[in-house]
């Protein structure tokens, strides 16, 4: 543009940058100084500002007041089942048919292995030497379900022979089914059974001598007529 017909100003882009507020601060100061002195640029700036304001007013009047439309995207309806391809079902079927035999085979192998292991770990009947019987020991009462043991009692003062124990294979290993209360031999062939009830200690709290029915050593001595040790 010509400045008073003499000087050509090249501020076209600067006018636009200044108009839209996108000019750096330093450039803005220079442009304003030029604008205050140059009639041509001032008139040009005024004209461009006028047009720009007209466009702005048009935009504000016709566009800015319009409500933003609600955009609706027609997405495909979601179903509970995931979409599968043509071969997905077939692939799933194949995987199922391969998994079932493998699992069945594993179960069979494990079952056979377990049975084999149990058989192997089962005790084999062996001949057991019967120990020399000790005559004076009050052993616990045998249980009725004990296996039949054929014991050959050796004669007194004779050499102990080997005793053979025969077990029927069907009978399980002997075990003590009941625990019999131990007996205390006190003498005169009197045995006192120390049952758990008899061994029950008196309750210390709220102790009443009349209420105490537990077995006492003094009672035993009294019963036996023995002299109480002092």
């Amino acid at each position: 543009m010509l400045n008073n017909g003499h000087k050509k100003c090249e501020f076209g882009e600067d006018i636009v940058a200044y108009l839209y507020g996108e000019m750096p601060a330093a450039g803005r100061v220079l442009f304003e100084k030029h604008l205050a002195m140059c009639h041509t640029c001032t008139d040009e700036f005024a004209a461009i500002s006028d047009v720009r304001f007209s466009v702005f007013e048009w935009q504000r009047a016709e566009f800015a007041k319009l409500a933003t439309p609600e955009i609706v995207i027609p997405y495909p309806a979601k179903s509970g089942v995931a979409t599968t391809g043509l071969f997905d079902g077939l692939r799933g079927l194949l995987s199922l048919t391969t998994a079932v035999p493998v699992i069945a085979t594993l179960l069979i192998v494990l079952g056979v292995g377990y049975i084999f292991f149990v058989r192997q770990s089962e005790p084999v009947p062996v001949a057991v030497q019967s120990p020399v019987e000790k005559p004076s020991v009050a052993s616990p009462q045998p249980v009725a379900a004990t296996p039949e043991i054929a014991t050959v009692a050796p004669p007194a003062n004779t050499k102990v022979e080997k005793a053979t124990v025969k077990r029927t294979p069907a009978v399980p290993r002997p075990f003590v089914a009941k625990r019999v209360a131990p007996q205390v031999r006190l003498g005169n062939d009197v045995a006192v059974s120390l049952t758990p009830a008899a061994r029950k200690a008196p309750v210390l709290s709220g102790y009443e001598d009349e209420d105490d029915t537990s077995l006492r050593l003094s009672d035993i001595f009294d019963e036996l007529g023995a002299k109480r040790p002092d």
Binding site: V16, Y18, A25, D43, F45, A46, V51, S54, V55
Partner: protein, 192 residues
């Protein structure tokens, strides 16, 4: 009454014997001066105040008008000086609160109050003219106008979007506004 007189004749008449002739000057140029102030200040209320101050300053200095330049140029210069004064005042006020050295000024466009039915009609007619003028622009020029005014994109964003240099964006926008001005001046709006 004064419609047939030129701007210079109106100023001469206002200085000589009829101060109200200046009213016709105001009526003819108020919008353009307001647009100039709006372009410089970016705020509609500030622009309105600056335009008011500019016309008052012009009226008080009517006797100094020598006729060396056109009245419009004289008014433009007064308006520019008024805007610069307004900016300096605003800057000195803002310095109490924050540093405005980066030049990032708030540019809020607030709706202007509508004054009269005649102005509304004038505005509606002008809107129609602007619409037609924008539609008549070549596509590459209309593109940058729409991106700048409607989408409020920066020059750099337009440059990135259209994959053209930054200077091309500015020159296209400048050319677009000049073409719009020519189209709008060819069909002046009759003021009711």
């Amino acid at each position: 009454m004064w419609a047939d007189l030129t701007d210079e004749q109106l100023v001469e008449k206002a200085v000589r014997d009829d101060p109200e002739a200046f009213g016709e000057i105001v009526r003819r140029w108020e919008r353009k001066i307001f647009a100039l102030c709006f372009g410089m200040l970016g705020r509609e209320d500030d622009a309105r105040d600056a335009a008011q101050e500019a016309f008052i300053a012009a009226y008080r200095n009517l006797s100094r008008f020598r006729g060396e330049a056109r009245v419009s140029s004289w008014l433009h210069r007064i308006a520019v000086n008024q805007c610069l004064t307004t900016k300096r005042r605003a800057k000195s006020r803002a310095e109490d609160f924050f540093d405005d050295e980066d030049g990032s000024e708030e540019r809020i466009f607030v709706a202007a109050p509508h004054h009269s039915p005649a102005r509304k009609a004038e505005k509606g007619e002008r809107m129609e003219l602007v619409r037609h003028a924008v539609r008549a622009l070549p596509t590459d020029l209309r593109q940058v106008i729409v991106m700048k005014e409607f989408e409020e994109m920066t020059f750099q964003e337009i440059s990135d979007t259209l994959e053209i240099p930054l200077s091309t964006v500015k020159s296209r926008l400048y050319t677009a506004l000049k073409q719009l001005r020519m189209r709008l001046e060819r069909t002046p709006v009759e003021i009711v």
